[in-house]
Amino acid sequence: MSNTSYLIRGARPLGAAPADLLIVDGLIAALGAEAAAHAAAGGATVIDARGQIMLPGMVDLHTHLREPGREDAETVETGTRAAAKGGFTAVHAMANSNPVADTAGVVEQVWSLGKRSGWVDVRPVGAVTVGLAGERLSELGAMADSRARVRVFSDDGICVHDPVLMRRALEYVKAFDGVIAQHAQEPRLTEDAQMNEGEVSAVLGLVGWPAVAEEAIIARDVLLAQHVDSRLHICHVSTAGSVDIIRWAKERGIKVTAEVTPHHLLLTEELVRSYDPVYKVNPPLRREADVMALRAALADGTIDVIGTDHAPHPSEAKECEWAQAAMGMTGLETALSVVQHTMIETGMISWADFARITSTTPAAIGLLADQGRPIAVGEPANLVFVDADARWIVDPYAMATKGRNSPFKGLELPGKVVSTFFHGHPTVLDGELNTPVPTNGDL
């Protein structure tokens, strides 16, 4: 047996009874009693995972890696290190880089940088429109046919506002089973918007971002998706009204999926009273009632997945006045803990549900063959091992991401990623980054 064998002892698959697991050459080779027997013969590296929960590696549909163009904020290398540390084995890199990921060339560049880094699968998201300008469709087919095999398309950060363009995009990507991930934000209703519109914005004198600006676009787009029978994905749902519309659409069989960010499951607009730009994000933090509706929707399946919307920024983009600050928060390294805190510890979902919303379903939406797979013999060993009983205090300066803009700074959270296995290789061991999967130079 080669040195790419690992015998992981005593972890609980999805929180069930403890079992041993043998990984050989990137695949799950054996489970249970058989694993130990096989390993004894081959000298596998033994890892004690007693007390830990074994889950399929997490898949993020919504990550900003910033490269190319904003390497001061993040690079594919630093962003994917953060992803591995957070328990992810695949991330979708959003298209709002510079240049925008709107051609086969740019998506292949991002994809190859991901391959070279070797921490997680990097799946580029292609821009829906050229330069995110909302005027002409990008070369969606070329991106789909490229080595990056793009299946998720989004102008995230900007709403595809033109209804005709949105309709055409939804129709066109059917040719390769793509999905349009919409950033639902009616632009005219949110001009100069700084935070959620309501009682707090009225007191703070900040221009409000009304919930209806999100809900109006979602309502329109689910009807468009129904009309052309296409796959629509709603990015970072943030309001109770949006949940109602998505629930309505799903009841009618419309092919809509939706994501919620960890920060929208925990934080409310009350934090904006500090004027600390670390809480500035798009869509904005909403009311307590919205947070509760989002949690309920995630629990009942109306919202399908967690998307981190990991948005690292250099410190100068946040150490300034609220109005001048960039929108966005980091999230890859806190996602698991925040979801455990808000959804599992509250009894709203199980660890099996966690696997569904952080791995199986996002992998299915992005059509990732090797991710979100069951923990079974013969499957790729993309796995994460979690100490659910651990508690830790969030320190942005101890994170692998370049971004220090974590809204959870100083907060005590449950759950630590102890190890992450990416195609059978431990990218994280004992809670610390190990080594990436060695590249074979096939770029």
Partner: protein, 326 residues
């Protein structure tokens, strides 16, 4: 009180203390030598990221009457226009040795941000931030109102509040930092407040504010009010149609000569008309109203210096001594 950022967190006791000290400061303005030695050797920086000659001069006069050194820093044409951040600017002021920073900023929350960070240690005084607050304007308005209210009731104003007074704040509430600061302070001092505006110029969420909301100025005047605070229509902040045109706005929400005549006919002798300035004559207020005996516009300007002296004195000297003591 380390900073003055907002009237929302100003206690009744603190507010009355500021107004009482402002009364003593106002007396200084009537002396032949309008100066106190209280802040001799201290440096006050007026840090203005937004043009405001009136407020800057008022703070400058206040600081100088207390014998402080004053540095005026206008962002326009400075290193700020070359891209310097608020953080760097603040740290420069700290290094220079500023003892207090009076900041006017176009962004809501900028003074609060400055006060919350470790960029600077000096007291921060909010001289107006975006559409958030303008606490010294509210204090000078309260000073003006208290003087009037005491006169109406035939009592000394010192130590009193505004309990029972009815104040109507009229106009562009949405964009007004003055309206917000006034509402919190007037409520703290016991006044009843009515906000009068077109629905488009009331912020979403203002329904929960501790005041009455009205769209009808005439009905508000008919119901009786002790003070009408007219707000400037902030055309420079309006990128959308908030009302059809100036004529319609003026007709429905402007304090025009006809409304002045109605007030006079009703013999509402005690009702005063206020405006924080600068005024759009003919839009939110007519010249007849602005220049009438009911108008307190110039008294407000004058009271502004006294109130700002009180604030600077309290923040820089604490309560160690009475400011105007002999």
């Amino acid at each position: 009180m380390k900073h003055l950022l907002s009237t929302l967190d100003l206690s009744r006791a603190d507010a009355i203390r500021i107004l009482d000290i402002a009364e003593e400061m106002a007396a200084v303005g009537h002396r032949e030598v309008k100066k106190l030695p209280a802040l001799r050797g201290r440096t006050v920086v007026n840090l203005f990221f937004e043009d405001s000659t009136r407020t800057r001069i008022s703070f400058e006069a206040a600081a100088k009457r207390l014998s402080a050194d004053v540095i005026n820093f206008a962002a326009k044409g400075s290193s700020v226009s070359k891209g310097e951040s608020l953080k760097d600017t603040a740290q420069t002021l700290e290094a220079i040795g500023a003892d207090a920073v009076v900041i006017r900023h176009w962004a809501s929350g900028a003074p609060a941000r400055l006060a919350a960070t470790d960029w600077i240690d000096a007291p921060v005084i909010n001289a107006g931030d975006g559409t958030h607050e303008h606490p010294t304007q509210a204090l000078l308005d309260a000073f003006t109102l208290r003087t009037h209210w005491a006169k109406v009731r035939g009592i000394q104003s010192s130590g009193t509040d505004l309990t029972g007074m009815r104040v109507s704040i009229v106009g562009d509430i949405l964009h007004s930092r003055v309206a917000r600061s006034n509402l919190w302070l007037l409520r703290t001092l016991g006044a009843e407040v009515t906000m009068v505006a077109p629905p488009t110029l009331l912020p979403v969420g203002s329904g929960s504010w501790p005041c009455k909301i009205s769209y009808d100025l005439d009905a508000t005047l008919a119901a009786g009010t002790d003070a009408v605070m007219m707000l400037r229509v902030q055309g420079e902040r309006m990128h959308a149609a908030f009302f059809p045109n100036a004529r319609e706005y003026s007709r429905r929400w402007g304090f025009d000569d006809a409304r002045l005549a109605t007030l006079d006919a009703a013999d509402s002798a005690a009702t005063i008309i206020m405006h924080p300035g600068p005024m759009n004559r003919g839009l939110e207020i007519s010249s007849g109203a602005a220049d009438s005996p009911r108008s307190t516009v110039l008294a407000q300007v004058s009271n502004g210096v006294a109130v700002r002296m009180a604030v600077l004195y309290l923040l820089l000297s604490g309560d160690q001594q009475r400011p105007a003591g002999n």
